[in-house]
Symmetry: C2
Subunit: 311 residues, 2 copies
């Protein structure tokens, strides 16, 4: 089962000839989740052969144009393609007005419903859950209300502990019932709780998206041990004051969050167009956290399945 992230855009507010504004797509078990939607996101979706009709949700971090201006074009395209499935936008409440004004202006009489779910930018809470993924908000600190999003894979396949099988020797019928989540009832009527005799076959994979934000200690606690952390690194640490003044982070700060949170891999992006050599920002981050990649548009990062081997 796939769990992979594709970068559609990696610039900050000023796009360059090589970097589109921010947008990510997370593929969880072949369902695609759009995370921010900068201008041109629909063009990038086509360029990187991502199937638009598998996207049913957009998670918007904040209302700035470099994170949102591609959404009306994408929804207009869905409309022209005769989409029927509902589309849900999660975003800070400020975004609702612009979303529906522009939908009415540019894509009136939609062939599909668009739902808006306002997210609290102060609390960390679960805002979405289906049988594949759970999404939790990550409060950020920017010039306007902003949240990141933590995507946690839902793993529901149960394995039965070997110790139980050796002891009780359950038949095939019982094994199927236990794997479906039921308790075990022995021939003498003893009930053994399902959770005592099973374990998940895999560990949940996790992706945390954090943009745009100042360095935040609170964030460290919220993204502990994730497989993939994306943290904006708009500036070099040499420009720390500029980062602070504009509500952004430096490459060193992004790496500090990654290091403290003990993540598997750090992705940095949202680079200011002032830096011509993005390798320098990557190098800067790597001094603090070695497993850092400065992303480029079109890159895909796949997290392999993590088997839960019970020792």
């Amino acid at each position: 089962m796939i769990f992979s992230l594709t970068i559609l855009g990696s610039s900050s507010a000023l796009p360059t000839s090589l970097r589109f504004p921010t947008a990510h797509v997370l593929n969880v078990h072949e369902r695609l989740f759009l995370i921010d939607c900068g201008e041109g996101a629909q063009i990038q979706l086509r360029r990187y052969h991502l199937k638009m009709n598998r996207i049913n949700h957009a998670f918007i971090s904040h209302v700035h144009g470099d994170h949102t201006l591609g959404l009306i074009g994408l929804l207009s395209t869905f409309n022209l393609l005769g989409r029927k499935n509902p589309f849900t936008v999660f975003a800070p409440s400020e975004f609702e007005e612009a979303l529906f004004f522009n939908l009415k202006f540019y894509a009136n009489n939609l062939t599909f419903p668009v739902n808006f779910v306002p997210v609290d930018t102060f609390k960390s809470q679960v805002i979405y859950e289906d049988k594949h993924v759970m999404v939790t908000t990550l409060p950020l600190h920017h010039r306007v209300p902003a949240v990141g999003y933590l995507f946690t894979e839902v793993v529901d396949k149960l394995n039965i502990k070997k110790t139980f099988i050796d002891k009780y020797k359950p038949g095939v019928g019982n094994i199927l019932r236990i794997k479906a989540g039921n308790d075990y009832v022995s021939s003498d009527g003893t009930v053994i709780c399902n959770s005592d005799i099973t374990y998940h076959s895999h560990l949940p994979r996790k992706y945390a998206y954090c943009s745009d934000t100042l360095y935040s200690e609170r964030l460290v606690g919220l993204v502990k041990n994730v497989d993939l952390l994306y943290h904006e690194a708009t500036f070099s640490h040499n420009d720390l004051e500029l980062a602070r003044a504009t509500g952004h982070s430096t490459a060193v700060q992004a790496a500090t969050v990654a290091s403290k949170a003990n993540v598997d891999m750090l992705l940095i992006g949202h680079f200011s167009s002032r830096y011509k050599k993005i390798g320098d920002l990557e190098h800067e981050a790597k001094q603090v956290f070695e497993k850092t990649v400065a992303v480029s548009d079109g890159q895909t990062f796949t997290v392999p399945e993590k088997r839960n081997i019970l020792v």
Copy 2:
């Protein structure tokens, strides 16, 4: 003095991985005029090394998103770059509401003024003139009010007729005065009118932009003899009914306008994403008008100066 057109986007409503939505840039004597502004236009401007700060005017044909959704991103970028020069948007009046709503939402406290000039979509009239170019509207027939734009170079350099020089042998001082537009006064007080003894050194170059529109006989009269005619060709003539139903033209119809108007060169674009081989549309048009090019994003078409040689 340059007169050239660069194609930023050549798709119709659904962009493809190779074609951005519609936007053109006309360079007249190093001043850039933006014509429509589909999503991603600012990215294409950077990709094709066009100097954004030389753009002071946008001419919008109609309010559909594939012709306008790039404008707020571009104006936001100007704002971030600290632009001071006013920017003027010419468009059908319906566009004003969306323009200012989104400017307020996405780019409040602009560093430069944005002026809106509503254009009449029924009359053909001069809406802009400076010392390099004159812009005339071209009423179109689409599902919403729409206009094209005719750009006519202003040529003001005067040459003096050889017959006058041979007869009157004016001195250097007189020659400079006549070239500046003054009448000639001979030593005996005779006044000879400037227009009788001068002619323009060059013929004005002309570019006509016509998108989106049904086939229009009226348009033929308005784009007579232009050097460069861009006419949308969303559909193949095999899909004529679809073109009619959606307010668009076929490649044959675009070529018919070009042929009847006796233009120098026809550019077709705004192709429906249903056509995988755009060469087929070009071939179709060429059967009617040989000097047709099906445009691609990034192409530049330069019209050479046309010296006015008085025989």
